[in-house]
């Protein structure tokens, strides 16, 4: 203590260095904070408008002979977006129900189902589609862009979007019955 008092010159940290240190600290904390915030949010939140994306389609699984589908073109329809993969066992539980729901709503023309094939290899994906007789538009998630957009935590996950492009319901994990799917779609159709 005595030493401190007796020293006339106290060379302290220059102001510019202090500013630098503190701003670096703030930036670092902000980055971690934002990431943490995102992680804790999990999937894209219900009530949010879904950002636009384009899904390229497997040949044979096109929509109106279009080789790709733009999400924003589907405004006015109820959209059910299902993330799946051929290596995903739980996905198989719901595959037939999803197809049945698609067949049920298809004549109305008011509902569209989209299958997004997550981190998969095409031959296996095609075998899977054939195995479950799936006919609704399906395509690969190129560059995992769509799954990052939705911040999915795994497969299967299903997102229900209303006619205005707003996310209304998220299902993490497989559906266990056709009724479960219909209940959500009917709610959105009734609006």
């Amino acid at each position: 203590m005595a030493e401190t008092m007796s020293s006339p010159v106290r060379r302290s940290v220059p102001i510019w260095a202090q500013v630098l240190i503190w701003s670096a600290l703030v930036v670092l904390l902000m980055v971690i904070g934002i990431v943490l915030n995102r992680r804790s949010e999990g999937n894209i939140q219900v009530g949010n408008r879904i950002p636009d994306f384009t899904l390229p389609l497997f040949s044979g699984y096109e929509s109106n002979d279009q080789s790709e589908i733009r999400f924003s073109d589907l405004r006015g329809k109820v959209v059910v977006i299902n993330f799946w993969a051929s290596w995903c066992k739980p996905c198989e539980l719901e595959a037939a129900d999803l197809q049945a729901a698609w067949e049920y709503y298809r004549p109305t023309g008011q509902v569209i189902f989209l299958g997004v094939n997550y981190v998969d290899t095409e031959p296996e994906a095609r075998l899977y589609l054939q195995k479950f007789g799936i006919t609704y538009p399906n395509g690969p998630d190129l560059g995992t862009r769509i799954s990052q957009l939705f911040r999915i935590s795994g497969v299967p996950e299903t997102y229900f979007v209303d006619k205005n492009g707003v996310l209304r319901y998220v299902r993490v994990g497989p559906f266990t019955s056709l009724e479960e799917i219909q209940r959500q779609v009917d709610l959105l159709l009734a609006e």
Partner: protein, 160 residues
Amino acid sequence: MMRLMRLSWLILLLAALAVRPAWAQGPRPPTDDEVNAIARKLYCPVCENTPLDVCPTQACAQWRSLIRQMLAEGKTEQEIVQYFVDNYGARVLNEPPRQGFHWLAYLVPPLAILVGVAIVVQAFRAMKRPGPAAPTARSDQEALLDEYLLRLEEELRRQR
């Protein structure tokens, strides 16, 4: 563009599926080691931070068989890696691609280290020219001697 590429791939893959027995009689099917040599440089998004060659998931097994198939078609390593990047994004690479924003990954550490060097050099200079108030509490002669040898000799003297 992407679409075209995908289509052509699809055709190739289907063709490969169709002629599967053909390559078995061809020059030589790719060995596991050739597959692994490429797989070890890739990271599957399903099991993050585990290289593809040792990842046990079904997804990764499928990726490896895709690599095998592409090798059998005579694709080069570069083409195969590029295919995976196009399909699954840059995250499949074992380090960030050297382009655009990702250059930062490579530039920041050397720059930060250079700043560190600069700070140390600066500190060195400062320590060589001590400020007027800096007391030299510890005598320099003493520091000149290697302390432990000093002690050693002291001890020896005492014990003699």
